[in-house]
Symmetry: C2
Subunit: 145 residues, 2 copies
């Protein structure tokens, strides 16, 4: 079984996890940890520890951070040191989170480093822009063939 902790500044974590919940349903193995303006660094660390405790039975734990650097990332890294089950990612977007959640739901979980690399690649390919593509009318169609 895998566990997913989402952590970030403000309500980034509960925001992303609410979106995942709307798209895939509620998943007990996803734990959001917000670092809100009123939280101290010490409180953040305690909330992250509590999240790891909730996922004690997991063979792999993926911590999805909002951004490289900053308190959520730094504390996640510090708590991960020495625990081979924990992998820390950053730059989290919804696409990669939904993909990881779906893999967890379906139990399609390869070796952790392979999964991490796949999820990072998915996150990158799922960033883009809408571009209007006019539909080309084929000449054959115009001629009624």
């Amino acid at each position: 079984m895998i566990g997913i902790i989402i952590t970030g500044h403000g309500t980034f974590a509960t925001g992303i996890s609410s979106a995942v919940e709307l798209l895939t349903g509620h998943q007990d193995f996803i734990v959001p940890v917000d670092f809100r303006g009123e939280h101290s660094e010490e409180q953040l660390k305690e909330h992250l520890k509590a999240a790891f405790d909730r996922l004690l039975d997991c063979e792999q734990i993926f911590v999805l951070c909002d951004i490289l650097g900053g308190s959520p990332f730094k504390n996640a890294v510090m708590l991960s040191i020495g625990d081979e089950r924990i992998k820390v990612l950053y730059g989290t977007n919804l696409g990669m989170t939904v993909e990881l959640a779906m893999r967890g739901m379906m139990g399609q979980v390869p070796e952790a480093d392979t999964l991490v690399n796949e999820i990072i690649e998915i996150g990158k390919t799922q960033i883009g822009k809408y571009k209007y593509e006019p539909v080309e009318i084929s000449e054959d169609f115009e001629e009624g063939i």
Copy 2:
């Protein structure tokens, strides 16, 4: 002046914008539009229209969506058609949002398509994993040189 609309499922939009606010301070030109479970598609469209109305004076409006497809993206695209000022992106993460917000704050805004491509590239490069790199002790240092 640029405007930024962040939109997504659940509280994705207010989540990301609260994180941007913690990192850069409150910016009037950033408008979050949530598509929560209790909202109808019609309400989402109205909330997006209201967001565009708030940014009427902007020369460029960037809509950052949570994910390709889904109601927030589809409605943003429908409302953007025919309005050259509006660019719709998806796969939003915090890194690209902060970068765009900082550019807006500093007025460093190139032509919209150039900026969109830069922001997408930044979003992609800011996704990664923490990897422990042991510090190598140089032999010179050990020898006291």
